[in-house]
Amino acid sequence: MAYIDTLVNTFGGRWFDMHWNPQINTSAWRSAINYYVRLLQDYGPPTASSNGFNQNLTLFENGHCAMWVDATTAAGTLFDPRESAVANNVAVTSAPVAVTPLGSHLLWTWALAIPSTSRHSAQALEFVQWATSKQYVQLVGETYGWTLVPPGTRKSTYEQAQYLRAAPFAQLTLESILTADPRRATLDPVPYVGIQFVGIPQFPNIGTQVGQLIAAAVTGLESTDEVLATSQAVTERVMRRAGYIH
C-alpha cells in the first residue's frame, strides 16, 4: 500500500481535502490505480496482489523480477553477493514521477525504544547507544561487508569512504531521505502529515481496507471504478464514525 500512496501523490491525488472529505473517487486516483493495475497485470509476478516485502525480495534476488519499487533498506541485501544472485547486475534509481515530484518517494523510520516497565533500562540504553553508534556501523562493515551496513541511521555513515565505494546506492539513499518531506507531499493542500500514510489513528484501518479493495482490481475480480467507489464509501464511513466529517 505504501507504493500506491506515493503513486497517488505523484499523480496529483490526495487522501483528504482540507475538511477531511475523502478524495479517493477522483481522476487522479483513477489514473494512478489504472496505471498500477495495468503495470502489475502485464508485468507483475502472478501473486502480485498479495506479495509482501519478503516475497518480492526473494523473487528479485533470484532474478524473477526486472524491476522492484520498495524501501531503500532493501538495497543492501540486493547488492550482497552472498544473498543475491543478481548482486553484480543491479542498479538503483528513484521511482518514476507522473504529474508532480511531490510525495513520489516515501519516508519511514525504524526506532528503538525502552519500555518504562523494563527492569534493565540502563543496560537497554547501553545497547541502544551501541546499536546506533559509529562503532557498530564500523563493526558491521568489517565483519559482514560494507553493503550490509544499516542505511540511514547516521550522517557519518555517508562520509565513510569504504561505504560510498562499496554501496553504489548510498548517495541516492541519502538524497532521498533529505528530499522527502512529510509536510509537503501532495499537489493540493491536505490537513495531515505523512507521505505514504495519513497521521491519524484511523488510517491503519482505512489503508488496509482500501489496499484489500485495490488488490481486487489487480486480480481482475473488480474494475478500478467499482473499487474506487467502494473505497470512497468505506473511507467516508470510517471518517464520519470518527467525527471528522458530518
Binding site: P46, T47, S50, L59, P201, Q212, L213, A216, G220, A242
Partner: protein, 303 residues
C-alpha cells in the same frame, strides 16, 4: 428390525416424585457454571453493542442508541460476509460428507496397506489451522514454487494464482482438507457398525455394489451424516485462521466471512461497539442455522 431406541417417560413416571431441595442444590454448581459460561459473555456482547467503545478513542463513551447497529448494517462488506459464511459452510459440508462417505466405504474394504492409508487420511486433522493454511499457500498453491503449479506445468497447463483469482474456492479447499478426516473417521465407524449378516443377506438376494450402497449403507449412515453435518457446521461458521493467514479477507471482500468481519472491527478498527454488533449478528445467524439443522436433520437422530 428390532426397536433399539431408548424408552423414556414411563420409566421415570413410575418413580415417586419427592419435592426436596436436594436435587436442586446438587444441580446448582453445574447450572451456575453453565450460566456464567454462556450468559455472561452474551450479556456483555449485548451491552457493548449499545455502547460507544473504541480503543483508540477512550474519551468517547456512553450509550450509543442504535448507532453501532446502523454503522455495521451500512457496511458494504456485510452482505458479502454473510454470503461467504454460508458458501464456505455449504461447500465444505458437501465436499467432506460426499468424499467422506466414499472414503469410509473404501476403508471398510480389506486392501494392502489399509492401516497406513487410514493413518494418512486422518493426519490433516492434527495439523494446526495456521500451519496447514501456510503449507497450502506457500508450498502447494503458490503459482511459482507450489506443487500444484509444478503438476499443472508438467501436463502443459498454465499455473493459476489460486488466492487471487479463486480466493473462496481456495479457502474451501483448505478447510475441506482439514475436515475430511473428521467425516471419514465418523462415517467409517458407522459403516463398520453395519451388521455383516444384513450385508450378506442383501448380497444373497443379488444386490450389486450400487444397490447395496443406496438401500443398505446410505440409510444406515443417515445418523452419522447428521452428526457430522451438525458438528462441522458449528465449527465452520467460525473459520478464521485460514483466512487471516492466506488472503486477509480479500481480494476485495471475496473471502471475508462473519468471523473475519468481527475481527476487522475489533482489532483493526478497534471498535468494540461495532464488533459486538457483529457478534450479536453471528449469534442470531448461528441460532437460525441451528434451528434449521435441528428441524431437518435431528429427525434422523431419532429414527
Amino acid at each position: 428390525m428390532p426397536d433399539l431406541s431408548i424408552t423414556r417417560g414411563p420409566v421415570s413416571r413410575r418413580l415417586p416424585r419427592r419435592h426436596t431441595l436436594a436435587p436442586f442444590l446438587l444441580q446448582a454448581p453445574s447450572v451456575t457454571a453453565l450460566l456464567l459460561w454462556s450468559i455472561v459473555p452474551l450479556v456483555m456482547t449485548l451491552w457493548f453493542s449499545f455502547r460507544r467503545y473504541n480503543l483508540l478513542e477512550p474519551s468517547q463513551t456512553g450509550f450509543a442508541h442504535l448507532e453501532n447497529y446502523r454503522y455495521l448494517l451500512g457496511d458494504p462488506s456485510l452482505g458479502p460476509a454473510i454470503l461467504n459464511t454460508f458458501l464456505l459452510v455449504g461447500w465444505v459440508l458437501v465436499i467432506t460428507v460426499g468424499l467422506g462417505t466414499l472414503l469410509a466405504i473404501l476403508y471398510d474394504q480389506d486392501f494392502f496397506g489399509r492401516s497406513v492409508t487410514r493413518v494418512m487420511v486422518v493426519a490433516p486433522f492434527f495439523v494446526m489451522p495456521t500451519v496447514s493454511a501456510l503449507i497450502w499457500k506457500d508450498m502447494l498453491l503458490d503459482p511459482e514454487n507450489g506443487v500444484v503449479a509444478f503438476l499443472m506445468r508438467s501436463v502443459g497447463l498454465k499455473p493459476i494464482n489460486w488466492f487471487g483469482t479463486a480466493p473462496l474456492t481456495s479457502i474451501v479447499l483448505i478447510v475441506s482438507w482439514q475436515w475430511l478426516p473428521f467425516a471419514v473417521l465418523t462415517l467409517l465407524t458407522a459403516v463398520q457398525s453395519l451388521d455383516q449378516e444384513r450385508k450378506e443377506a442383501a448380497r444373497m438376494d443379488g444386490a450389486g455394489p450400487l444397490a447395496m450402497f443406496i438401500y443398505i449403507i446410505r440409510p444406515h449412515l443417515g445418523r452419522a451424516i447428521a452428526a457430522v453435518t451438525m458438528v462441522e457446521t458449528i465449527f465452520l461458521l467460525t473459520v478464521f485462521a485460514e483466512i487471516l493467514v492466506t488472503t486477509g479477507g480479500g481480494p476485495g471482500y471475496s473471502t471475508t466471512n462473519l468471523s473475519y468481519l468481527v475481527y476487522r472491527y475489533a482489532l483493526l478498527e478497534t471498535d468494540i461497539g461495532a464488533a459486538s454488533v457483529g457478534g450479536v449478528l453471528a449469534i442470531l445467524l448461528a441460532n437460525l442455522v441451528a434451528l434449521f439443522l435441528m428441524r431437518s436433520i435431528a429427525k434422523n437422530l431419532d429414527a
